[in-house]
Amino acid sequence: MAETAAPATKKNLSLRTSPAALLRAAFETGSVRGSAELSETSFLTMVGVRVNRDSGAGQRIASVTGGLPAKCGEVAGAGDTSVLWLGPEEFMVVAPVEAHESLGGDLLQALREALADGEGQVVDLSANRTTFELTGPRSRAVLEKGCSLDLHPRVLKSGTALSTEIGNIPVVLWKISDESFRIFPRASFAEFLGRWLLDAMREYASPEVP
C-alpha cells in the first residue's frame, strides 16, 4: 500500500476538485469585508493517528509531529504541522498541501515509520475533510448561531480545537486567533455547511438596525 505512489515527478493535479469548489464564487460574494469572511483552503494534508501517547510508538510519533496533545482541546505540533486532539488515543495531524506524498512530501512515510509495528494506526485522511477559514470580528457571532459550545474568549482560548457540531454538522472547530477559526467538515457535508455559514453571515452585510 505504501509503495503505490512513486512521487518521482510532479503529478498533474489540475483536475482534482475540492469539496466546496462549487461555492468558491459564493464565498467570495458572501464574505462581508471587515466583518465575516469565509473561504475554503483545499487539500491540506491530514493524517489520522491512533496511538497511546505514552507508548513507545506514541513517543516516536510525537517526535515526528513535534508532540501529541494531552487532553481535549489541546493542539500540539511544530512548525507548520499541527496535531489536534480527537480522543484519548486519537489525533488528527494537519499539515500543508505539500506535505502529502502525492506532492513529494514525506510526512506520511515518516509517521508510518515512527509507528513501525507498534500498536496503533496511521491513515491518510486528506480527502476526508476540507478546511473552511472563517475570519473577522463577527466570526464568533456567526458560529454561535449553530454551535452549542461556549465560544466566548474567556472559555474558548485561541489555539484550541474541539470536535463539535455546527449547524448540526459534526466538525472539528479550531480557534486560530481571536477572530479566526478553522472548520473541518467532512467532504460530503462541505457544501451544506458552506451554504449554512453563508446564510448565517448574510445579516452582517446590511447596516445594523439601531
Binding site: 481535549c72 480522543g87 470536535s163 457540531e165 448540526n168
Partner: protein, 113 residues
C-alpha cells in the same frame, strides 16, 4: 436537553451523545451452556427502572469514548458519571428505602463492554 459531562471533554449537549442502554449486563460466562430462554434474557431483557438507572453512553460527536452514567429516569437528574468497567457507585436514591425499587436490580459485577 440534557447537559452531559463527558469524562474527557466536559459538559456538552445531549445531541453529541448516543445512548447505549443498561450498563453492567455481564456477558455470559459460557454462552454455549445457555438455553434459548436464557440467551434471549441476556440479549433482550433489560430493567425498566423507575428511579436511579445505570446506563452506557457514547460521546459520538466528541471523543468517541464510552462511559457509564447513573441517571434518575424520573427526574433526569444525572447522579454520577464513571468509567466503563468500574462498579456502579451507590447512589443516595438507591440506598434510601424506596418501596418502588425492586431488589436485585444492582448488578455490581464489573462490566465487560
Amino acid at each position: 436537553m440534557l447537559l452531559i459531562s463527558c469524562p474527557n471533554c466536559g459538559s456538552r449537549d445531549e445531541t453529541e451523545f448516543h445512548y447505549g442502554g443498561q450498563a453492567h449486563v455481564p456477558y455470559p460466562e459460557n454462552p454455549n451452556e445457555l438455553n434459548d430462554v436464557e440467551w434471549s434474557r441476556y440479549l433482550f431483557y433489560r430493567e425498566n427502572t423507575k428511579g436511579a438507572f445505570a446506563e452506557r453512553w457514547l460521546h459520538s460527536t466528541g471523543c468517541r469514548q464510552w462511559f457509564n452514567m447513573l441517571r434518575d429516569t424520573v427526574t433526569y437528574d444525572i447522579q454520577a458519571i464513571y468509567p466503563m468497567g468500574t462498579p456502579r457507585p451507590d447512589s443516595p436514591a438507591a440506598t434510601s428505602s424506596n418501596p418502588g425499587t425492586k431488589p436485585g436490580t444492582t448488578a455490581p459485577e464489573g462490566a465487560t463492554k
